[in-house]
Subunit: 335 residues, 2 copies
DNA sequence: CTGAAAGCGCTAACAG
DNA sequence: CTGTTAGCGCTTTCAG
């Protein structure tokens, strides 16, 4: 890489003159500025990012920790984060915790040495199950800002971006009730997560409020991917009168639809299905799945904004929590 | 952040003594080492990464440029790259080109200022269509190593990781022929890409070699996601006697299967389908899709290895191309 | 208008 | 065994 020093030598001026010239300093003669810039351009000079970071104690880099990049929700969130960060002149260093607490701790430790100005993350499943977030609080104690999105924790005082999980599930359930559904089952593989619990509660509350709904809430947990087929087939065996299904994760709604079609349920006449999925699954089914849209891009964008707000304004104290609106998008799997 | 200077002041020793002590230098008395380390631990000292990068002219960071993170193949490749890089003590800065050439150029320019030691990337669609890779060659001219994976270009002399696209499609086609299929259609949305062209060629070659195969090759291009439904339905309309489908992208195989089932094709009796998809789509269909497995994790891992090899051994000249074996995994959609 | 010097945090050659 | 110094590349104050 070409440096200021090399430019200075070739031009027989000092390093500081070169530096100032490249910044259009008033102190430098127009003539010199032209000469310096010409050579800089000719040699494709680029200011060394590392040196600037050291000088400014600021890297313009955000650490992003994603629990599961193969989950479409997180991939899309990353897309939005990268886009907004890039727009604001920030790079992102991506770490994938793969739902492991140790990897999460490791990533935080490895990057909290001046590598990044702050973190945007969603908490790993293992961490949420263990309910131990000391490692994240440790980062905050070092005065490195953190923004949590989607999977958050009440035990961490920082900026957060969430959706109204309770309300979204509540609304979806209410919709099925309004269709006259009498036997609504909730399925999902994220009941251990903060968001999963809230969604289950929203579902339960909607049923509870409905005086003429006589069945008990049914919550079916999918534990491992390889058992998803059987688990969902069991739903239809155990609850042959099921007439509404709410999936609170990304994929089980689609699988439920496939299985129901295989069993010759008439959808949506006999059975309605609502997924908590992203648009990507639409192409995989016919009829198309009614979903709760999470506005994932907005979640990512808002996360970056909150973080940069804090970076640019260290004195602000109160943590903000931004709630992104969800939307129930009716398609072919509901009446 | 706590610095060597602060430790030195508190201990009344020089900065270099502290630095050496922390590195277990023989020059330093055991007693001092203990004292220094104790304080460092107590204050949670971490060497400033930026300073070390500046000192060493090495960031231990890899720039990764991904064309489309919502594509499962690339998400998985990123997963593998991050995992291997992390294992080797490297961070990754992720940029998403979103298939745009300008974004690709931008990312390369912004990171080729000492931010990263090298790049791992797959070429954006727009770049491949325009067939202009000057910006990538410019990086190589700056002596920054680049590893290309999946989507490569003959006009770039660098290390590459690919699969045998021609061979994989050839093998899949041969398999369908061995089942006695007489009317095999290829579908996909990546015919503009290097990999897509090779796959089409492999398909065509297999047909051509088969003397008793009388139908012409049929290549159906899917242009936009929103037209995928109609495009595939058209296949069945135009070619009612189709008895074999090869999808060369991630999703169209699944869609073809759905549509065929809707049209009451008996699969795999009347019609076989082979997808170029990852395992993630398996849960979405019944029967499960026969696929060409790309060993995506190996692709990512190999890319990191090639890059680090080059970083650690600058003198090597010849570019290597590593070909990862594919595997035809027979499942329910073939006989 | 230009240059010298200090300093960001660290390492390492050299001096004591 | 410990300290001084220079330097990685840059910005910026201060001197000239």
């Amino acid at each position: 890489m070409i440096t200021l020093k090399q430019l200075a030598e070739q031009l027989n001026v000092s390093i500081s003159t070169v530096s100032k010239a490249l910044h259009n300093s008033e102190e430098i003669s127009p003539d010199t500025i032209v000469r310096v810039k010409a050579l800089a351009k000719h040699l494709n000079y680029k200011p060394n990012k590392v040196a600037i970071s050291l000088k400014n104690s600021k890297t313009n880099t955000i650490g992003v920790i994603i629990p599961d990049i193969l989950n479409h929700f997180f991939a899309k969130a990353l897309l939005a984060i990268e886009k907004e960060a890039s727009k604001q002149g920030y790079n992102i260093i991506t770490c994938l915790s793969n739902e492991k607490k140790t990897k999460e701790i490791n990533s935080l430790n490895l990057l909290s040495n001046g590598s990044v100005d702050g973190f945007i993350m969603s908490i790993a499943e293992e961490t949420q199950v263990a309910n131990n977030v000391d490692h994240i609080n440790a980062i905050l104690l070092q005065n490195i800002p953190v923004v949590l999105f989607d999977r958050v924790s009440d035990n961490i005082a920082c900026d957060k971006v969430i959706i109204d999980d309770f309300g979204a599930a509540y609304e979806a359930t209410k919709h099925l009730l309004s269709e006259g559904r009498k036997h609504i089952v909730l399925i999902g593989d994220i009941q251990d997560l903060s968001v999963g619990k809230l969604r289950v509660n929203g579902y339960a509350e909607a049923l509870k409020e409905t005086s003429n709904y006589i069945n008990e809430p049914v919550v079916v947990s999918i534990n491992k991917d390889n058992l998803i087929d059987e688990t969902i087939q069991d739903v239809f065996k155990k609850h042959p009168s099921v007439d509404g299904i709410i999936s609170i994760d990304n994929t089980s709604g689609v699988v439920a639809l496939q299985k129901a079609q295989k069993l010759n349920y008439n959808i949506p006449k006999d059975l309605s299905i609502i997924g908590f999925s992203d648009e990507n699954v639409l192409q995989f089914t016919d009829p198309k799945l009614t979903t709760i849209s999470q506005h994932t891009l907005d979640i990512g964008k808002a996360s970056v904004k909150l973080l940069l707000d804090r970076l640019n304004n260290k004195k602000q104290i109160a943590s903000k929590t931004k709630t992104i609106k969800t939307k129930l998008v009716l398609r072919g799997t509901t009446k």
